[in-house]
């Protein structure tokens, strides 16, 4: 089955920015050159210490090929670990001018041992540069930091801030407390200071809470969906705790958590904020205005209404300047740039979503 999905060039000859590409290690030992000996030994002996019952696998097994495109497996190692295949299969084939790397596993975001988390995130950031960004200048790294140790996170952000190859700061929206809580504010302060967006990519590992308000779901279909409810709750927390009010230059990117819910969530937040605003007097504007000014959303996995044009209504409400194309390569629910939209976009809309919004946000030329 190792056949490319499409041979066609990228969307209408447009060079695109892909805001969600997943690199991978060939094996965890790829990280060792970037880890102190003490933590290499720890990783070998104890491994990661996560908040779930299974070690080294996900508690909701994915539906196909461990959640990967079946054609994305290189000769050796897992999908995303072979830069040559990533180039030929995706970056070249789809006209990717820039690609944003989303390193999810072993970055320390979900590690319970915070010292180990710190070592992991530092190693992962070095590894991204050495393995992907140095040999492939179209790719941009994200500064991975463990959000549960804000003091270390700030140190790591500052350490990377002068390097333009790091486009943004990655933290987990499945945090131990809602991300609006004050214990995370030093991270936002550092992000604002070094002009990097905060990137919130959905996560497979819990920060210590069930993925729904009524406990754990049974099926992967539910857990997959819970990424969007969790993202709504996270955005609500950032708004109502006053993060956007306190850090007016902070920019937040919500990745792979859906976007079609955002207008309705904004209506709901505005309506009930108006009723309850005495509880949150630190908010000086309706919630929707903070979201409109300071949040961006990525497209994948795109919604597919029975009447495709209904999605245009939603994007209109969201703002055509706030949506950025993403593929999620090499994951199973990859969106192809040529087929992602089932309705006709204007040339101006295409340019914004596939390229210009991301270029403006990340300061790409």
């Amino acid at each position: 089955m190792n056949v490319p999905l499409r041979h066609a060039p990228a969307s209408a000859g447009l060079a695109i920015v892909d805001c969600d590409i997943h690199p991978a290690y060939r094996s965890p030992k790829d990280l060792y050159p970037f880890l102190p000996a003490r933590w290499q030994e720890h990783m070998t002996t104890f491994g990661e210490h996560l908040r779930q019952g299974l070690s080294g696998q996900l508690a909701w097994p994915r539906m196909m090929a461990a959640g990967m495109r079946v054609d994305s497996f290189p000769e050796q190692g897992p999908p995303g670990s072979d830069l040559a295949l990533m180039r030929s299969q995706h970056l070249d084939a789809n006209g990717v001018e820039y690609g944003m790397l989303m390193q999810l596993s072993r970055g320390g975001m979900e590690e319970r041992n915070l010292e180990f988390a710190a070592a992991l995130s530092r190693a992962v950031n070095d590894w991204q540069l050495a393995t992907f960004v140095e040999p492939e200048p179209r790719l941009r790294a994200g500064i991975v930091v463990p959000q549960e140790d804000a003091a270390f996170a700030v140190t790591e952000i500052e350490r990377r801030a002068a390097d333009p190859r790091f486009a943004q700061i990655l933290i987990s929206p499945r945090s131990s407390d809602p991300l609006g809580h004050r214990r995370y504010w030093p991270i936002y302060e550092a992000a604002q200071r070094c002009s990097r967006p905060i990137a919130l990519h959905v996560q497979g590992f819990s920060g210590g809470h069930a993925s729904t308000a009524s406990g754990w779901p049974t099926y992967y279909m539910q857990e997959h969906y819970a990424a969007t409810t969790g993202m709504q709750n996270t955005l609500t927390s950032l708004v109502f705790e006053g993060v956007f009010e306190r850090f007016p230059d902070l920019k937040v990117v919500l990745i792979e958590g859906g976007f079609a819910w955002a207008p309705a969530l904004c209506w709901r937040m505005d309506k009930h904020w108006e009723r309850m605003r005495k509880e949150v007097p630190h908010l000086r504007r309706p919630p929707s205005e903070y979201v409109r000014a300071q949040c961006w959303f990525t497209t994948q996995p795109i919604e597919e209404p029975e009447t495709p044009a209904h999605l245009a209504d939603v994007i209109g409400w969201l703002g055509w300047d706030r949506l950025m194309f993403s593929t999620d390569y090499p994951h199973w629910d990859f969106d192809h740039p040529q087929h992602v939209f089932k309705f006709q976009l204007t040339e101006a809309q295409k340019a914004k979503v596939f390229r210009d919004n991301a270029k403006a946000l990340y300061g790409l030329q």
Partner: protein, 376 residues
């Protein structure tokens, strides 16, 4: 806009719950002793989800000079039944018994609340109907309560909470749905939390307004649970009513479940058609609160078109909760036909027991039609 004609069916109305001491006459000796000796009867059983003085919990002009909002039948008649010319209103008594960890105590209090509701509300006001409060965290006890109360056909639905012990689609809960199907009762999920879990996947929000906003995401999780576990497949006549859930989040859920299902359907092979079709057939949502933008008059029409069904919405005032002012309980811009469906046709289709109950009022104890409805 105002309700344009008489005969509406209000599918969510909240009489003030009785004090614990008012429930003593409805408890057996053991539980009466327990409540009195442990001073439990001195506590209010107010849910954290609905703090009494919060703006959301009662509209200012519906608060009483003394006593709780919606605390007496005169207020309910004057403020909720007469102004909207409702022929029937379904009472949902939001009692804190559901948040108790002691399942037996929760069951005893639920029974007491149901009996109190029948005697103090339904016996005295023929326009009122009610939901059966059950301790869902013990499905055996919940089924027993349904069986006990079901002969009184003024009870039209079983009431569950959006945020509870476990996701409600799980097989453990199916006896509740079986009992409801047998007796022609709808299953209602109302906003509210037992707080047995954090309200969000990343823990406990700081503010009450955040908890309230998160209710809609809890409803989304429950819909996914009913869908993926196959409850609608097992109980083809089941109507699931989402009460005080909000409405405008629904299109995204319909789109996303139908799309994701195409990729994961081998995991849930009993889902044999697009989820949006199944949900449109089985799920109903009460009108209030209707979360819409202030300055976009097209948003409602677009959203209704996105929902793709005019059968899903049920009229509700959510009295005395504060979602609208004056008598403008309906949004502007609905067609006459849509209004008629919302006010009358959809509720009648959703609640089998309203179909025989509307004209006659009370036909307590008549259980003969129920089984016919279940096999309908």
């Amino acid at each position: 806009m105002k309700v344009p004609f008489k005969g509406a069916i209000d599918c969510d109305l909240h009489p003030a719950m009785p004090s614990a001491s008012a429930l003593l006459p409805y408890l057996d000796d053991y539980w009466r002793d327990q409540l009195v000796n442990r001073h439990i009867d001195k506590y209010s059983f107010v849910l954290t989800s609905y703090p009494p003085n919060s703006p959301l919990s009662a509209r200012p002009d519906w608060r009483q000079a003394s006593g709780a909002p919606a605390g007496d039948l005169d207020a309910i008649r004057r403020q909720a039944l007469d102004p909207f010319a409702s022929r029937v209103a379904i009472c949902n008594v939001l009692h804190g018994a559901l948040a108790l960890f002691n399942e037996d105590m929760a069951a005893a209090l639920c029974s007491a609340v149901n009996d109190w509701t029948a005697k103090e509300l339904l016996d005295r006001e023929p326009r009122l109907r009610a939901s059966i409060l059950v301790p869902a965290h013990n499905p055996d006890l919940a089924v027993r309560e349904i069986e006990r109360v079901a002969p009184d056909r003024r009870f039209v639905q079983v009431l569950l909470f959006a945020m509870g012990e476990m996701l409600l689609g799980r097989r453990l809960y199916w006896p509740i749905y079986e009992a409801a199907a047998l007796h022609g009762l709808a299953i209602g999920i109302h906003a509210g939390s037992t707080y047995h879990h954090a309200p969000t996947a990343s823990g406990w929000p700081a503010h009450r307004v955040e908890d309230y906003i998160a209710q809609s995401t809890a409803f989304e999780s429950q819909l996914l649970s009913f869908l993926t576990e196959g409850v609608f497949h097992k109980f083809p006549a089941l109507k699931l009513v989402l009460i005080e859930s909000g409405v405008t989040w629904l299109p995204t859920l319909l789109w996303r479940t139908s799309k994701t299902w195409r990729g994961v359907r081998p995991e849930v092979p009993w889902i044999d058609r697009p989820p949006a079709e199944i949900l449109r057939e089985h799920v109903r949502l009460t009108l209030q609160p209707l979360d819409l933008p202030k300055h976009d008059p097209q948003a409602l029409a677009r959203t209704l078109e996105h929902i793709g069904s005019d059968r899903m919405l049920l009229f509700s005032t959510d009295y005395p909760h504060w979602h609208f002012d004056g008598e403008d309980v309906l949004p502007d811009g609905l067609s006459d036909e849509a209004v008629h469906k919302l006010l009358i046709d959809n509720p009648l289709e959703t609640f089998p027991r309203l179909r025989d109950g509307v004209a006659k009022g009370d036909n307590k104890g008549d259980n003969t039609r129920t089984n016919q409805e279940a096999v309908r």
